[in-house]
Symmetry: D2
Subunit: 348 residues, 4 copies
């Protein structure tokens, strides 16, 4: 059992970490950090619990400490659910001694930091050695992509393995939980859509290419295709929906792509990692699926569900589909946990 | 004052016709038709009223008749809110004697039937003569496009006037009222999205090109660019939102497009038609607009509101924006009423 | 293992029966009935599946038969999810030979028919002998109460055991699933409340008193207190919320009532019936609970959750609380299943 | 024209004040105050506008000042949309010189402060003289009740004029706008109900009795009946719904009560005050009304709509009904404006 801590344990994603790690076969929660306001309180008292599943008994009595490297010791891995501006400051300090598996965006695009989806680019872990050497750290930072990016890139991977992608257009319909518990007021979203999520389109447009890129010397050379995004908030609790249009460089048989998606497996499946979904991509034939309320929890929220996969009638060498992924599980806390499981199995 | 009737007056779109025509300066409601079940009843008793504005007093006592040409006489224009399968059968019969301004999809793609957005393609009314001659009708049928298509095409028009469009990608987020009052059960859409609307994508992909096409001999030669759509139902009462990605044939200045949209006017504005919005396209600079709940009623629901207009960072010669249009006003009943106003002013 | 059938297996409550019975330790689904339209089809094809959990594999290939006693044979218990008007006609025919555990309202108030909540009035099963004798049936009918009534009456029972109740006022906030899958259009309930549910108030006002009544000779003498209800539909998927005001005949200590509720157990708990919740009533101290989304699934949807239990500040000898119960589990299919489990354990 | 200011002009209720006063025939907005963060900015820049109707042109350029008596001069009436804790501190200071028409709860229950609903207790304005004398103020404070209380008490008044009320039970279903723009996170209320609103039940239980009380010497002797409330937040944007159960001291004819409600008028109607609804209470016969989305805007949001008025079947001398009132218009800003109109017409 590795000893782990959660940085920023009281927020929405922090709580997901708690719930995913409480009964984990390989990890044991030892440390929970939060802002000074919560430090010194029992977790039970510090965290207003948001999830529909109950707070695990085992964490209730843990005393929350300030998010400060001096307050933390005797852990192997720190999971970070910190806001990006705070992550930028403290994650490097933690990485001097510890492994940091971060959901924060701060370090994702650093050249020497792996931006990891275990099924897609496990080879990006090769950057760790470069990172440690360059920065003089005993520990290191591994990040997972933005919630919308993870779901999208997982579905692009089996296509990219078969064909050269020319362009990707994606319009997202994102759940309110993505903004944190109090991020979207009900007055803003009831009977409404908000067509803007700060920084989201840029993240999709850059992170996807890094993940599907190739390791060259000391850094990742991004994939060469173009990707453009339009992001929208919708009145859905959990589960991001994405309408995806892809143009390939050549003609294709849609059944080959369907087949590749449905059969797609990666290293987590081969290694049988605890959080790995059996099928990272579930392909549905129903004409009106995937739907976020029905499909977000597929494979414990770790699978991405694809439907309406069809050849484009009007634009040549193109296809369209819709995907649903759980934004705070596969798209956040679950992603970091799977990253850590891969690190444990392949590096430690 | 022209005497008008409403075919299919008790449904969602029928009620919008009633509310738009009840105090109309040029039209007077004389006839309301519905299915045999409602025939013989006062409108007040036949129609379960759905709109948030009240049923106009003037229609309450009108006796509803069956949707049958034999039951209708002494009108100038019939507005059709019929379901497509019924429209296919009865609209041609009505058109033997009357002008039919139809919101139904049945006749839209007939080569000799105008598919009219008065600001965009008023010249399509030239088809009427061809239609009457070919079919031997005293009356004629003029149709308006599908709700999503109208809003989209209105915004494409000023761009298309300036530049050659190469491709359009559109992802829609459509309000539940588009499916009729009982079309979307609450169990289906609360905390959910349904990524499928039957026939909708095909309508957008074909109607748009007919509207922006050119009259050649006896029919319309469709516009030459490519358009592809992905359509989704969202938990919003009224107002369709569309994420639009456009590739042009050449480079452009985004300010020119913004300017062209904001200044765009058509024949309805010049003729000062009663239902014509002063600005058919409202362009907003706010980073988080348009929003359906806030923008659907702009210009009495007859304007399309555009926001997030931006040059695409990643795909060359491309731009992106989001639009909101009221699906049952500008996208349905209001569209037919504006069509009829144009016909009255230019043909009768 | 007893062989069971489900009458009306394709609707909302029918599907709940299917999901609760598919892996039941004592019951095995042999027969699924539906309307003639579905008869002859595989269940998988006949039922548009509504639940968020998946359709059990074991029922997919069962051929649905018409809801007609001639079509059914070789079962021990029939669970009825029939609409009330159909139940009135066919349940008595089925009861000639079979045990019918019914969720329909048709027979609930018949003097010789048990209206059973196993924790509250198991002695009502004594009516079975009377029913069989009077009607000459080999089988019999046992009913469960209306969804709102079950949750309310479960919470009244421990109070009624301690004190004489004088009056109960209840205002319900009921989930849309209570009306069936297509019962509440989204246009009716988004951003809205509907303050009327046909027949619901009368059911609460009569059924509660029969359940808490006493067996006298051949029938139940209803409890003597007064109960009045106001029922409202709210935009919630599952889980009815009820605001309850109770006046007792005498003064009381609120802690005694809290204690009685929290410790309340009945025969299902003593017999350890498979569907019995460990705690039929969960009492929460949080100031803002119970909430339907968070508390409806407590104890697999079989517990009622109570909160805001407080002495009334203004009306003497009175208390107030709010409860949440899952309307299609504890309030419908789960209730019938628990009834059948009690019958199996105590009668068969 | 009287010159007026709005204290706390940038919040939800402040914006309602702005929209109601911008074109008011008797009042002219001269001053807008807010917190130091907004002071010095143009209103257009200081206020993130929340309402679906547009920000009035006339206020856009007004420079917001700090909510401090030193910053305000040359006004006749100040409308207060301040949070209660701030109102407690600064309203008395403003009242030294100005008339304060307050929506805040801080001063409502002060013995010498009118808690005014102009149709119900205009005589409470007699307290002003006592208030000024006792406190040595040139100005004075008049308050309006809590949003739920106003709607309820308006409907109680015509009943109370005819009969002795014994008890009132009320369960509220309150819109999210009542908590301010960011008061209820979407994560908290989508597919959910929150059965707690801090302080709300106490306000209903005390304010109602003060309003229906009688002026005795220097203060109001509260009405003698009992009232108890249970308050719940529901996923509705605007418009509070209340289920009301009333026991009278004697038997009654329900038609008399219906008639009294429907014909009810007060001083604002007699004086024809600008914001006075023609009918303060609208009584509907439809079995499924009132509904908040449909009825909240009746009479510009200034009427309360009542439906399901019925004699109680089970509890003697009792009746039940459901009401809907617009919480931020009749229940807040509109209430204060009507108060000020009454003051202008009868005192100034």
């Amino acid at each position: 059992m590795l000893k782990v801590g959660i940085l920023g344990a009281t927020g929405m994603v922090g709580q997901r970490f708690v719930s995913l790690l409480a009964d984990h076969p390989d990890f044991e929660i030892e440390v929970l950090t939060a802002s000074p306001r919560s430090a010194g309180k029992k977790y039970e008292d510090a965290a207003k619990w948001y999830l529909d599943i109950e707070m695990p008994e085992s964490v209730k009595d843990i005393t929350v400490v300030n998010t400060d490297p001096k307050e933390v010791e005797d852990v192997d891995i720190l999971f970070s659910a910190l806001p990006s501006n705070i992550a930028a400051k403290v994650e490097p300090k933690f990485a001097e001694k510890y492994i940091v598996a971060s959901n924060a965006s701060a370090m994702r695009m650093e050249p020497d930091v792996p931006l990891l989806i275990p099924e897609v680019n496990p080879e990006s872990l090769d950057l760790i050695e470069i990172q440690q050497e360059k920065r003089g750290w005993e520990g290191f930072i591994v990040t997972n992509p933005n919630c919308s990016t993870i779901a999208l890139t997982l579905t692009l991977k089996p296509i990219y393995d078969l064909f050269d992608i020319k362009r990707v257009y994606v319009a997202t319909m994102q759940a309110v939980s993505g903004a944190g518990y109090a991020g979207v007021p009900s007055m803003a979203i009831l009977d409404n859509i908000i067509p803007f999520i700060s920084g989201e389109e840029e993240k999709i447009e850059t992170e996807t290419l890094k993940i599907l890129g190739t390791l060259k010397d000391d850094s990742i050379e991004p994939a060469k295709f173009k990707i453009t995004a339009s992001c929208h908030r919708v009145p859905v609790l959990d589960g991001h929906t994405e309408a995806v249009f892809i143009e390939l460089e050549e003609n294709f048989d849609i059944e080959d792509i369907k087949d590749a998606m449905a059969k797609f497996k990666g290293l987590p499946q081969k290694l049988n990692l605890p959080s790995a979904p059996k099928k990272p991509i579930i392909v549905l034939d129903d004409e009106d699926r995937p739907q976020p309320r029905i499909d977000r929890d597929n494979e414990n929220g770790m699978a991405v569900t694809v439907g309406r996969l069809r050849k484009d009638n009007t634009i040549e060498n193109s296809l369209k589909y819709v995907l649903v992924g759980h934004n705070t599980i596969r798209g956040a806390a679950g992603a970091s946990v799977l990253n850590a499981e891969l690190i444990k199995e392949t590096i430690l």
